[in-house]
């Protein structure tokens, strides 16, 4: 009598435990399909919503690629100058330069710049200096029969190419013995070789500088980055190409004084050395050694007729400014992702309101609050992940176009797209939580009554 019905009960709620594995796959696929459906049922609205994320993600990747490329270029230049190197260059002192510009008075004889004694002192007194490669740079015309070219003739040491990461394309650099013998040998830069020997192999031929003939023993690689670095490092009036001869030969053939015809009269300059690359054996001490060199030169020179450049310090600066660029890019991207996230939250709230009745139905049919939360959260994540994906595609293509049409170096590191995409998915979660909870917290009765 009056017993409760238990025998004829349908599969009881314990069935939740059953089939958990297959249930999970079904659930996810079902919920995902539903999310995709509801996103596509409002195509335009969803697209506009997603736009914020698309722009944000594309902007992060593209900006990072451009700044990465720029800093790579800059760093490459300084690296070519050598991270262990200190560059000391002669510059005409400002005071002298101005008086000579006036063009009055007797022919001027200016003496400035680095001397052999300076270099000797530096390499003798500073511990950690492993090598000094000093160079003289003289502007000359170089001839091969009728072809001539104005070049910088660099008289330098044997180690010059290795000190600058500057490689030979063909032949060899001059040797110690040629250095000792003041040998008449020359190594052409690629540019000079192309101009002087358009049709033949320059190796074994000879070129004329002033009245002396020099045997061509090698050809350097195209100067490319190295030359850019050179220009950046100060040689503003450098000739289009350079050739290299032993420093000893340069001194004995050209002397140390150059005479120039200027508007006001004759002007002669005496410079012993135009530049020196000081190699330090330990990279840690490069910057300190640079300071010591500055002190030594200050004591030895009345006027400031030299500059000291430390590629490593410039490299650090470049890295710092690259970091700053990336922080700015990150901030801009962060803001646009935030705006995109707010857009998603907005549209999810609208969607929750629109689908109040559906939520009521689902609740009546046995959906728990967590089921409703999952459904809307998945939808928000799909929305932002689709935006993120489009953004990644755009973000990878934009740098490609930039480098194709503007010739800028751009580097898309794999980290950027992955990071941007995961952030966009995370934004879906963060900005989807509130609307989802609102959906789940609706009173089923009210929700079912909603029109």
């Amino acid at each position: 009598m009056n017993e409760w019905v238990f025998d004829s009960l349908p599969p009881a709620p314990e069935s939740r435990q059953r089939d958990r594995r297959s249930r999970f796959g079904w659930r996810i696929s079902q919920i995902t399909r539903l999310g995709v459906k509801s996103i596509f049922s409002h195509g335009l609205r969803s697209m506009l919503t997603v736009l914020g994320i698309v722009i944000g993600v594309a902007a992060v990747i593209a900006m990072l690629a451009v700044s990465e490329g720029a800093s790579f270029e800059a760093q490459q230049q300084f690296r070519d100058l050598g991270a262990n190197n200190i560059l000391v260059k002669s510059v005409k002192p400002v005071a002298v330069e101005e008086s000579s510009r006036l063009g009055f008075g007797p022919p001027q004889a200016i003496v400035y710049g680095l001397t052999h004694a300076d270099i000797q002192t530096i390499s003798d007194t500073i511990p950690g200096v492993s090598n000094v490669i000093s160079s003289r740079i003289v502007k000359k015309n170089i001839w091969n029969l009728g072809n001539s070219m104005n070049v910088d003739v660099v008289g330098t040491a044997v180690d010059y190419p290795t000190s600058r990461n500057y490689g030979l394309r063909d032949g060899r650099f001059f040797s110690e013995s040629e250095m000792r013998d003041h040998g008449n040998v020359v190594v052409l830069s690629q540019e000079a070789a192309d101009a002087l020997f358009p049709f033949e192999n320059p190796l074994g031929q000879s070129v004329r500088i002033d009245s002396d003939y020099y045997d061509v023993v090698g050809i350097m690689e195209s100067e490319g980055f190295s030359n850019l670095g050179q220009n950046q490092a100060g040689a503003s009036n450098s000739a289009p190409a350079r050739v290299f001869i032993p420093l000893t030969a340069s001194r004995s053939r050209f002397g140390e004084t150059t005479t120039r015809q200027t508007a006001g009269g004759m002007e002669s300059e005496t410079v012993e050395l135009h530049e020196a690359v000081i190699q330090v054996d330990n990279q840690e001490t490069v910057i300190n050694v640079g300071e010591v060199i500055d002190q030594i030169l200050q004591r030895r020179h009345k006027n400031v007729d030299y500059t000291i450049e430390i590629p490593l310090a410039l490299l650090r600066q470049a890295e710092e400014s690259a970091l700053r660029d990336q922080i700015v890019a990150g901030a801009i991207a962060g803001i646009s992702l935030l705006v995109g996230g707010i857009g998603i939250m907005n549209i999810m709230l609208a969607s929750v309101t629109e689908r109040t009745r559906e939520i009521g139905i689902r609740r009546a049919l046995g959906a728990r609050k967590s089921d409703i939360i999952t459904q809307f959260l998945v939808e928000a994540v799909i929305l932002s992940a689709v935006g993120g994906l489009i953004g990644v595609v755009l973000g990878i293509t934009i740098p490609f176009f930039i480098s194709t049409f503007w010739g800028m170096t751009t580097i898309v590191t794999p980290v950027a797209p992955i990071l941007a995409f995961s952030i966009s998915a995370m934004i879906g979660v963060i900005f989807g939580i509130y609307p989802s909870i609102r959906a789940a917290d609706m009173d089923p009765v009210e929700a079912l009554r909603h029109e």
Partner: protein, 246 residues
Amino acid sequence: MPAPQANSGHATRPPEQQLRVASVADVSKTYYMGTLEVEVLHGISLDFYGGDYISIMGPSGCGKSTLMNILGCLDRPTTGAYFLGGEDTSKLKDDELSLIRGARLGFVFQSYNLIQQLDVLENIEMPLFYQGFSQAYSHRAAFQLAERVGLADRIHHKPFELSGGQQQRVAIARALAMDPLIILADEPTGNLDSRSGLEILDLFDELHEAGKTLILVTHSDELAERTSRRIRLLDGRVEQDERMGV
């Protein structure tokens, strides 16, 4: 399990041979609108037996919908208890209530309340989905139910591609998916023309004959006449509870 006393005061013929599936014991419901208190139900007690075919009638505002919401575990009584399948629902947490709704109750609404983005089959299997049945089982069960309500050839149609009567049959199939203790129908023919309304009523009759327990809330005498137990509410009280001879 404290089985409440059968309150058979209004029932003319308490069916001793039947089993109790649900009972409301002295249920009242008060709504608070700001400072205003509105008591909609005043201590209603009713027992429902397996196989009952019940209509609940009454003028609007008499508390039909409120009673229906309580029976459907969508709302909780302010005082009193609601026992469903021997379980005191007032002690259940929200998640457990959701579970009970899905497993023990079937809903049929006046406006069908199908989900528009889903096709017929998906609508029918939704209760199974939320109860955690496997996809294969749910598909099979949903297809059988679609067949039973005569929509086997429409399983992949969307609700808006169906007539009102067909939609209501989908809703009934959905209500049957978990083979619930009680099927609650709120004005099931209210939105239908008379012919499809009759078809739906015939379907209810069939379910009754198959031994299902049905509770219909309605204004329509035509509908009430088919039922074997007619409950009439007035101002939040049971005015009449009569059993017709079968």
